[in-house]
Symmetry: C2
Subunit: 413 residues, 2 copies
């Protein structure tokens, strides 16, 4: 590699891996919100930003932010963002890839004049591990970090507000230091896909058109626990066979409906003895679809099927809605621009929906937002062996730079 | 109730309930092998036996035994038996009912001369709770309590041999004090059904013709854990949907085959997160049938179906046989005599198989053995609310007494 044509994609990957060495748990990559590893990661990021001629600040929610100024002081702002916190024993790319592609894009732009400011935001909390609640950072920059959320405590009983103070910041200053610039006209998150779709399509990139809506439920099947030897089949009220018939129906229905995913991830059969017919079964159901009406129809259908599977066996079914989240569309115009930027750099970015939640979901209702997905080899996510291909990072970086060079601010928020 | 016609059935129930008050755990009925509650139960039983004119002894496996002698010293012996140990938080009748109906039958016989001795054995261990191994008592009286079993330890690390010594007995004397009399010509166990069959047939009694054989297996379904949002249905390798399809097939196959029961009692899905497609599922399979060949055919069929359900989803299946137990037929002639005795007292004792294991299973290969089942209201078993109806206990007692009055010793073992 010559100095004249730096391999920025390789450098992005190298920096992601360097950042992955900064961990709250030695030997793995675990970086929780406002932890000492977060502080060390900030030190490294600040150093890299400074090398690129950018001064960074930490806002009072712990987000590291740097602005590349336009010559016009009153120019609008474009935001490049992703996060640097991780799940426990994570990979190197979920989050950091977007931050470091953003930095590489600014490096690539060099002194090229642009008609807008660019703010690079490295969110400190997206995964929601420490406080069992995701998106605290993006909620802070969109003015939605409520007093209730600030009072939430971690496993050690430390509140969000206290953790902010312990990090040397001031939760009372969040309304001043956190909000997005008032004139943001576009926001872009680059993220690994965290799934197998791009790999199965043999493609590098996708443009996200919608972040799916999600329903989460608990279901309890209640039959009758009985002796497995002395209870003939016709006299049973087996909660597990009822649940099993329903789980097969969940799979069948979702498979028959494009874009729908439905998952039973947890199951518990009680009393849980080898020689006892299960009397109670608890399961979870996670349903996601880019269209809310399709998701609602799926949930309604599946609840009916659960009752039918129970009724065949004298098993009662109770369902409990745990959470519901609407689908969030990305900004249509910005999404078209991103497609065009990918095309201009020779890449066919597939239109796709995101099955996982992202900070983009929190920003989208307030500022025009879109997302660029980068292929996840093996579909691996939240795993130490998570990886990216250099050619895909190169494609993503070229697309982002091309977008920045072509995008015209089209007005205020 | 007049003194002249004592209500022995009511007394049997009263005594079972009195015994149920003797527990290792206050407030419930939990009587483990060679525990202090066992000693207290023996004290009470010895007192009741003495009131009936019988002297009891405790053999070196902890079984309480009393012999009603025939006038002929060299007469053969008939054994009435059941057990007084319980599962944790048990009911009052599983075990004790058989012992106390035996005692009531001896009381009813009074001085009536019979051409055989009758030994009443109250086994100290049938359920297998303390040493995670059932039938230690009946294995002792049939000469099968091996050195390996004597070395087995309980949760506190106490061996069977040490527990015997701690109870004031001598494990080295088991070969002398435990074996059945050499001339046992019949053995009868009365037990609650522990199932709903008699109740659903509106009948008091059943004569057991076979104790079913049993196969126990572990199966592991191994697919691929994936993000529940980002993994489209066609790209999943869901171990739980594969297992669920198979569980439905287990139920269907068993329902279609008379006398077969098959149960999935335990299930574990890993990683067990609401938003992760299960990558691994562990289940147990318990299959029972009175005919060994039907049981083997069922296991073979169900393993094939597990592989088929896995193959549809790219999920591998591994099966592991944990234990296998052949069906044990009861003695045909003795079973006919028991049917006739029931008929003579005006009861239609249904022929049935036992889906649960019993001490009778251990004795049957060595001495002519049969079992009489008494209806379990609600099919309840191993439950504090386990009960019996007085009319059914009356029927059982009348049948046993009638058998004793009519049975002719027909030779030696």
């Amino acid at each position: 590699m010559s100095q004249a044509a730096p391999n920025r994609a390789a450098k992005v990957i190298e920096r992601c891996r360097e950042l992955a060495g900064i961990s709250d748990v030695p030997g793995e990559t675990t970086r929780l919100f406002l932890s000492s590893a977060t502080r060390d990661a900030h030190t490294l990021l600040i150093w890299w930003l400074r090398q690129a001629g950018l001064e960074a600040r930490t806002d009072d929610a712990g987000n590291l932010r740097a602005v590349r100024h336009s010559a016009k002081a009153d120019a609008p702002t474009l935001v490049l963002f992703s996060h640097i916190d991780t799940v426990p024993n994570a990979g190197a790319f979920d989050g950091p890839l977007g931050v470091l592609i953003g930095l590489a894009a600014l490096e690539e732009l060099g002194a090229t004049p642009l008609p807008f400011h660019i703010e690079l935001i490295s969110f400190a909390e997206e995964e929601g591990v420490r406080f069992s609640f995701p998106f605290l950072s993006s909620l802070a920059v969109t003015g939605q970090l409520s007093a209730e959320l600030l009072a939430r405590t971690d496993a050690a009983g430390v509140s969000v507000a206290q953790a902010i103070r312990d990090f040397g910041l001031d939760p009372d200053r969040i309304p001043q230091s956190c909000p997005l610039a008032p004139n943001v006209f576009a926001a872009l998150e680059v993220h690994i896909e965290q799934g197998p779709v791009l790999e199965s399509d043999n493609a590098s990139l996708a443009v996200v058109e919608t972040i799916v809506g999600q329903s989460r439920l608990n279901l309890t099947f209640t039959g009758q626990a009985n002796h497995a030897g002395t209870t003939p089949m016709p006299l049973r009220h087996d909660a597990l066979t009822a649940a099993a018939q329903w789980i097969v129906e969940v799979e069948r229905y979702a498979s028959d409906h494009t874009q729908l995913v439905a998952t039973v991830g947890r199951i518990e059969a009680l009393p849980g003895a080898m020689n006892v017919v299960p009397g109670t079964v608890n399961v979870t159901l996670d349903v996601r679809h880019p269209k809310d009406e399709s998701r609602h129809a799926a949930v309604a259908h599946l609840l009916t099927k659960a009752e039918a599977a129970g009724a065949l066996r004298g098993v009662r079914v109770k369902a409990n809605l745990l959470s519901e989240q609407k689908a969030v569309p990305m900004d249509r115009a910005l999404t078209v621009h991103l497609h065009q930027a990918a095309e201009r750099t020779g890449h066919d970015a597939k239109p796709m929906f995101s099955g996982a939640g992202h900070d983009a979901m929190i920003l989208a209702p307030q500022v025009p937002t879109t997302m660029l997905f980068v292929r996840s080899p093996g579909g691996l996510s939240h795993h130490p062996e998570e990886s990216v291909r250099e050619e895909d990072v190169k494609a993503a970086l070229a697309t982002v730079v091309n977008l920045l060079l072509h995008l015209k601010p089209h007005g205020k928020r």
